[in-house]
């Protein structure tokens, strides 16, 4: 049974970890494309059209990756976690159905018109199709994050004859953590797309300095990132406060607070030891955690001992959180620095262009870390207080899971390699692609 649980988690984790890369990019890139498309409609400048076409190719590729890995995910909800649907299917099911009905068909159908229909429909209709794709991707995020947030902080449900059903769908959708998680994710998507646009444009400029389109998109990406980075700091902090209120055990794991105490220090870096339940080599700020989380240096914070034995493994959550914050801070600095260096149409020096290129996928790294924090941080619960992850597994045997996992790993590795090759190829050629 342990083997089945472990393999189910490994397989599902691999799949969602791989899948989330692509929506994270497309949610915001769809809106950026709409911006390019409208700029072209307003100016009639063929440079904007070329820019739009280039980024549409990147979008189509990324979207296809998201679609196929998403279909896999929709099956794995059932195949890997049969207990999930049996227990909370009456809540989770309709939310997933609404995602398919309102978002998937919308984006898939209008993407066809957006990609292949530019000369077949009037300009306004093409802009409308681009807008529908953007709305579709964001709607999709709305439903899936509503479900994820409900699993983290369930409200609005009632138990009737042993079954969990929705008492109030509004409360199910707008559960306590949803507004924070949704905003946090949308901004993360914006930052990811902004850095991809800036990074690939910088990559192009390293090869052809006089590419005007690449200069324009470098600036677009950097400005967008510079606007969103401070917003993410505020939203992230609020999200943390919300987690402290509704999932205090997760905060205890993030901050590696083992014992409930007053005036808890903020652990900047350490090696948390899950066996001995303590931190080794800790660098701490005295009373920092109490001050940061409760705005009072002597306030009491609940440690992991208060939630034992229902606590998450500390080390992965602790490190992933610090990695996320660290990458975020670097992105903040690079974005502002980049905006300064590209002011009044200036071309940054080559070493800076290399820096932007190096930060192309920084948004992906930070987003992955963020999801590791929130998903491992809620363990051992799949649905907080309602369903344990261990009780949802089953269905397939270890051998079946192992065989299919091998197939997925090979397929994903091949797909990812091809994706990266095509992306660098497209970026290298720029709007002449």
């Amino acid at each position: 049974m342990d083997e089945v649980l472990l393999l189910s988690r490994a397989q599902f984790g691999l799949n969602i970890g791989f899948h989330i890369l692509f929506p994270t990019l497309t949610i915001a890139l769809a809106w950026i494309l709409l911006y390019f498309r409208i700029r072209y409609a307003q100016s009639g400048d063929p440079a904007w059209l070329a820019t739009y076409k280039l980024w549409t190719k990147v979008f189509a590729l990324t979207f296809a990756m998201g679609v196929v890995t998403g279909i896999t995910m929709s099956f794995q909800f059932g195949t890997n976690w049969p207990g999930f649907m049996l227990k909370v299917g009456n809540i989770a099911g309709p939310l997933l159905a609404y995602e398919v009905l309102t978002a998937f068909f919308l984006e898939a159908t209008f993407l066809g018109i957006m990609l292949f229909g530019m000369n077949r429909v009037p300009g306004w209709m093409h802009i409308f199709a681009s807008a529908m794709v953007a709305i579709g991707t964001s709607l999709s995020a709305f439903w899936i994050l509503a479900l994820n947030s409900w699993m983290q902080t369930p409200t609005g449900h009632v138990v009737q004859a042993g079954q969990i059903i929705a008492g109030d769908w509004w409360q199910v959708l707008f559960n306590p953590s949803f507004p924070y998680r949704f905003t946090h994710m949308l901004i993360a998507s914006g930052l990811t797309a902004a850095f991809v646009v800036a990074g690939l444009s910088a990559w192009r400029l390293l090869r052809a300095q006089d590419d005007k389109s690449a200069r324009a998109t470098l600036r677009t990406g950097l400005v967008l990132a510079a606007v969103l980075a401070p917003a993410q700091v505020i939203v992230g902090d609020q999200h943390g406060m919300n987690t402290l209120e509704h999932q205090p055990a997760k905060i205890a794991a993030i901050e590696a607070i083992w014992k409930t105490e007053k005036g808890v220090p903020l652990v900047l870096l350490a090696i948390p030891d899950d066996e001995k339940r303590r931190n080794d080599f800790a660098i701490e700020i005295p009373k920092g955690a109490s001050l940061l989380l409760k705005h009072d240096a002597d306030a009491e914070l609940k440690g992991l001992d208060a939630f034992a034995p229902d606590t998450a493994p500390v080390a992965p959550v602790f490190f992933a959180f610090r990695a996320m914050v660290g990458i975020g801070v670097l992105m903040f600095i690079v974005a502002w620095w980049g905006v300064w260096a590209t002011r009044r149409g200036m071309l940054p020096p080559r070493w800076m262009l290399w820096t932007f290129a190096g930060f192309t996928f920084s948004g992906w790294a930070a987003t992955e870390c963020g999801w590791i924090v929130t998903e491992i941080g809620r363990q051992p619960w799949l649905v907080t207080g309602i369903l344990r992850t261990a009780d949802a597994a089953g269905g397939a045997s270890g051998a079946q899971l192992g065989a299919s996992l091998t197939g997925y790993v090979i397929t994903y590795a091949g797909m990812f390699l091809a994706y990266m090759v095509v992306l660098t190829h497209l970026a290298g050629k720029g709007t002449q692609a």
Binding site: A64, I71, A97, L101, F105, V121, I165, G395, S404
Partner: protein, 330 residues
């Protein structure tokens, strides 16, 4: 009188599955026909399905989604038993989905590789779906004979999708490629005829409850309408492709419409055989249904969204009506 929600959702699931099989069927069929065409024709073939394949696959997500959401107990049984073929199908779907994008951007042997993967993914998906159908209609009984039967259905579905794909190409192309497609369609039809005959003969042996439903006079006489209508549709495909081959005037949409009719009739027969079971002999749709509160909430969404969905799908097909041409922005 209150609404029989499980029945409504069974009908919706059936509709979504039928639409999936017909719509993704033609683009999977086009994928399987790739090796039979030259490079320029391959580009046209891919262009003919380019604007549609993504939305087509969404019907699968909806169909399986309804199974998952409206009949959770059945979903657990079905997808649990079919775990491995589902995984193969998913890998097939992934390969062909991304191959679609990659082949457009690749050159030289890379392009050849993606063409090959596009074919392989289409074939793997189709075969896995047929295999699962074979396992499903025989109630997942273990044993060599049943596995053989499932393999047979797997091959049959490939033939059916080839028929759909070829008739789609007759509709969307012209000249030499259309000529080739006419030949493919006739081969596909022969394959489908053989497959339907074999599956129809084998099914009563494979499942006793199907046997009882089929040989229940006088209802059997009314049921005979299904194979007769299927024969008529098959004859239409044969006749129309024959006239087009000889250069006689015939509408180019008839073969595709008749192929869709064959699928619809086969689907109706299957639905009749299985009803009211969602897992044959084990679980009826009412036993497997989710809580009414969940079903009601979803029905509201379906009723509101479905008209829009149909309208913009129809709009997309209207935008891309006529013969296909290559090029991303044409």
């Amino acid at each position: 009188m209150s609404l029989d929600l499980p029945l409504v959702f069974a009908a919706l699931m059936g509709l979504a599955m039928l639409l999936y099989v017909v719509l993704d069927g033609y683009d999977l069929g086009v994928g399987m026909l790739m090796p039979a065409a030259d490079a320029r024709e391959q580009d046209l073939m891919v262009a003919s399905i380019g604007p549609f394949w993504d939305a087509n696959e969404t019907w699968l997500v909806l169909g399986v989604g309804i199974l998952l959401v409206a009949f959770p107990a059945a979903h657990g049984v079905v997808l649990g038993v079919l775990y491995l073929p589902v995984a193969w199908m998913l890998i097939g779907l992934m390969l062909r989905g991304v191959a679609f994008e990659f082949r457009m951007k690749a050159e030289g042997w890379h392009r050849e590789l993606w063409n090959w993967l596009f074919w392989f993914g289409s074939f793997l998906t189709s075969f896995a779906q047929g295999f699962m159908l074979g396992r499903y209609i025989t109630g997942f009984h273990p044993g060599f004979g049943y596995t053989l039967f499932a393999l047979l259905v797997g091959a049959s579905l490939c033939g059916g999708y080839v028929l759909l794909g070829a008739t789609w190409l007759i509709l969307k192309t012209q000249g030499v490629l259309q000529g080739k497609a006419l030949g493919w369609a006739r081969w596909g039809l022969a394959w489908v005829a053989l497959a339907i005959a074999l599956v129809s003969l084998a099914t009563p042996f494979a499942s006793q409850s199907v046997q009882l439903k089929w040989f229940d006079f006088p209802r059997t006489l009314a049921l005979l309408l299904l194979p007769l209508a299927t024969l008529a549709a098959g004859w239409l495909v044969w006749g129309a492709t024959g006239r087009l081959k000889r250069g006689e005037p015939a509408p180019d949409w008839v073969p595709f419409a008749a192929a869709v009719a064959i699928f619809t009739l086969a689907f109706a027969g299957l639905a009749y055989s299985l009803f009211p079971f969602v897992v044959i002999d084990r679980m009826t749709i009412w036993e497997a249904a989710a809580h009414p509160s969940a079903l009601k909430f979803m029905l509201v969404g379906v009723v509101i969204v479905l008209p829009f969905l149909i309208a913009y799908t129809a709009f997309a097909y209207r935008v891309f009506r006529g013969k296909a041409s290559t090029g991303l922005y044409e």
